[in-house]
């Protein structure tokens, strides 16, 4: 899967989780850029990403990822 394809899938997941079809993420997107992205929705998001790509984040990673770029790096490593 190319990085571009990963972003495409991530966009869909973000749109579903936050119920907003206008969301487009890039590597610099952070929780501050999306209104509803709080610690509770973060669990939901992580679970949906794990399911979509068939991967597991490690415990430390879940809380320290600072932006979508880091998330994509981890996804690329594991798939």
């Amino acid at each position: 899967m190319t990085e571009e394809e990963i972003y495409e899938k991530l966009n869909e997941i973000f749109q579903d989780v936050f119920d907003d079809e206008t969301i487009e993420v890039d590597e610099l997107t952070t929780a501050d850029d999306i209104d509803d992205w709080d610690s509770l929705e973060h669990i939901n998001l992580v679970a949906a990403v794990e399911k979509e790509f068939g991967i597991k984040f490690k415990m430390g990673e879940v809380s320290t990822m600072k932006d979508v770029g880091e998330m994509v790096e981890i996804i690329m490593e594991r798939i």
Partner: protein, 597 residues
């Protein structure tokens, strides 16, 4: 909504729940509004948001109160202003083994562990007592799931010092309490977690990171299980099964293969699977679920199949057998009409996806679970929770007999010219009197599930009904009807509140199984006579229209009341001066409570 029916895709629900909620709320169906207080020993946010979806889908629109993190005990014992003013209709205590305050250690003596068990149980019991005294509402309490690890290995379950042993004993104490306490329901997370897979359920990541006592993806299973209890308590259970025959109750097609060649019994694995399924259905009947057949077959073949000597279900087990070539949605609508229940209280069981689709498209709200492979039939029906048992009354045990007698009565009716002659021929005897403790459970149950013959559709929890029963301010009547075909049980309830010399009718309901038997007139006669004894001169009746109760729109008019008010939404108020009232029932012999001895 198909996405929320068992077996559902949990990951999909978790991801899409915002849009699912939007869709549910936009369907303009009318729902029962209920307030649910969730007192959690761990995080509850996502549990609540998923439970909301299931409840909306079951016809209940909930609003929630949630404790601050892990404040369940404090909230129950010393509720804050927010919870007090919330006035819940039901309290759900979401605790798990993580909330057990102390476990035995290897140096403990048996009596130490005994004390520990008692004090842990007392801690919970105090909380239940406090909640039920303050809020007078039903309580749902989780039991405990098995723990993450077994310190002593296999001995952990059998030794008094084992945590697994301790949890099992504590669970038993919860069950004993629940057996002797009405309005208290156990949410069996011990079963659900085992069935889901304890290893995944208890994934420590979710506890350590987010303080969830179960893994994220198990939330829908858990929320669904809990929602089933809630909907059952509030009278939203299904009532009847409409069963297909070929490849549903037996293997093969009876019309093509002949009754002697269908697969049912002990001969092959497939035959055994159908045998097990028939046994399961038969047991549902014993729980009070009404059984009917809905099959595209000649009736003769259908009956021959059901008379197969190896089968469990016989033609007699069914109240109605629709075996013909009509469309199934027509047959189901007919069945509902004959049983006097709403089509949406029927569960249609058919292996053919096309039939299920048609029925679902034609009849709004009917359930048609995905029956895929006989080996999965029992689990699919069982886990769907259509008939979740929360109360269990004597009437449930007899329901099939009563409805069958009804169908016989209808057959008799055809041979009389004069309807009153027919009614007289039924030898009807009623007990109509003030409530008695023996029937209070059934009375409450009726108040929660009667929709059609119900002028106010006022619902009562068991605790509220107890209050009405204990108060001097009410005139209460229940009516129980017997006839030559059988005992119909308690079928009608009237509650009126006394204010000065007027009685205001809070509730007037009757089960549709005794429509057109003049039972409502017998109730009115007794009501008037009770009013006279208590110096009441006027009865005021109220009718509040709902989607389902148009049949009683002019009930009070039929009784001879005058309409005195009507507003824009069709709510009407009626009044009757009872001075010159003359009894209206001439076909039922009426007795009082003393006849029950």
């Amino acid at each position: 909504m198909i996405e929320l029916e068992y077996p559902f895709d949990s990951a999909y629900i978790m991801k899409k729940r915002k849009s699912i909620k939007r869709t549910l709320l936009s369907d303009s169906s009318s729902r029962l509004k209920k307030k649910i207080a969730v007192l959690g020993g761990s995080t509850t946010n996502d549990i609540v948001s998923v439970m909301e979806l299931f409840l909306l889908n079951m016809g209940i629109e909930p609003t929630f109160y949630q404790s601050e993190y892990a404040q369940y005990w404090q909230d129950a014992m010393f509720p804050d202003e927010e919870l007090k003013s919330f006035q819940p209709d039901i309290v759900f205590i979401h605790t798990t083994y993580r909330n057990i305050s102390a476990f035995p250690t290897t140096s403990d003596k048996p009596e130490d562990v005994e004390n520990m068990l008692e004090s842990e149980f007392d801690r919970f019991k105090q909380m239940w007592t406090a909640v039920s005294e303050r809020f007078k509402c039903p309580i749902i309490q989780n039991n405990f799931e098995m723990p993450l690890y077994r310190l002593m290995g296999n001995k952990d379950c059998s030794d008094y010092r084992g945590r697994e042993n301790f949890i099992s004993r504590l669970n038993m104490k919860f069950y004993e309490y629940s057996m002797e306490t009405s309005n208290f329901y156990i949410n069996d997370i011990n079963y659900i977690s085992a069935s889901y897979g304890l290893k995944k359920w208890l994934d420590p990541l979710y506890w350590n990171m987010y303080k969830y006592a179960l893994c994220f993806e198990a939330i829908p299973e858990f929320a669904f299980n809990t929602a089933n209890i809630v909907k059952s308590v509030f009278g939203k259970n299904k009532k009847a099964l409409a069963l297909d025959l070929d490849n549903t109750l037996w293997g093969g097609v009876v019309g093509d293969d002949g009754a002697e060649h269908i697969q049912i019994g002990q001969e092959t694995g497939v035959a055994q699977s159908y045998f097990e399924f028939q046994s399961y259905i038969k047991a549902q009947k014993d729980l009070g679920v009404m059984l009917t057949v809905c099959s595209k077959n000649d009736e003769e073949n259908a009956v021959a199949g059901l008379n197969h000597p190896e089968g469990v279900l016989k033609p007699d087990d069914f109240i109605i057998i629709k075996a013909n070539w009509e469309n199934k949605d027509r047959n189901i609508a007919d069945t509902a009409a004959q049983l006097n229940i709403l089509p949406e209280s029927i569960v249609f069981v058919d292996d053919n996806p096309a039939e299920r689709e048609i029925v679902k498209a034609q009849i709004k709200g009917v359930a048609a679970p995905k029956m895929d492979g006989v080996e999965n039939y029992i689990q699919t029906l069982d886990r769907s929770g259509f008939f979740e048992v929360t109360t269990f009354s004597e009437d449930d045990l007899k329901r099939n007999e009563m409805y069958k007698a009804n169908v016989q009565r209808a057959a008799r009716q055809a041979t009389f010219d004069n309807y009153e002659d027919y009614l007289l021929s039924l030898d009807m005897n009623a007990v109509i009197d003030d409530f008695t403790p023996m029937y209070i459970q059934r009375i409450t149950q009726l108040s929660n599930k009667s929709n059609q013959f119900n002028v106010t559709t006022k619902r009562y929890t068991a605790a509220q009904m107890e209050d009405v029963f204990a108060s001097e301010d009410y005139i209460r009547l229940y009516g129980k009807l017997t006839d030559k075909f059988g005992d119909n049980g308690v079928v009608s309830v009237v509650i009126g509140k006394k204010r000065e010399n007027t009685l205001h009718i809070d509730l007037w309901l009757m089960s549709c199984r005794v429509l057109k038997r003049d039972m409502e007139f017998a109730m009115l006669d007794t009501l008037v006579s009770k009013c006279r004894q208590q110096g009441i001169g006027t009865i005021r009746g109220y009718y509040y229209p709902t989607a389902k109760n148009s049949m009683v729109k002019t009930l009070f008019g039929t009784f001879g009341f005058e309409k005195i008010e009507e507003d824009d939404s069709g709510n009407t108020v009626w009044e009757l001066n009872i001075e010159n009232y003359q009894n209206k029932n001439h076909v039922i012999n009426v007795h009082g409570n003393e006849s029950l001895q």
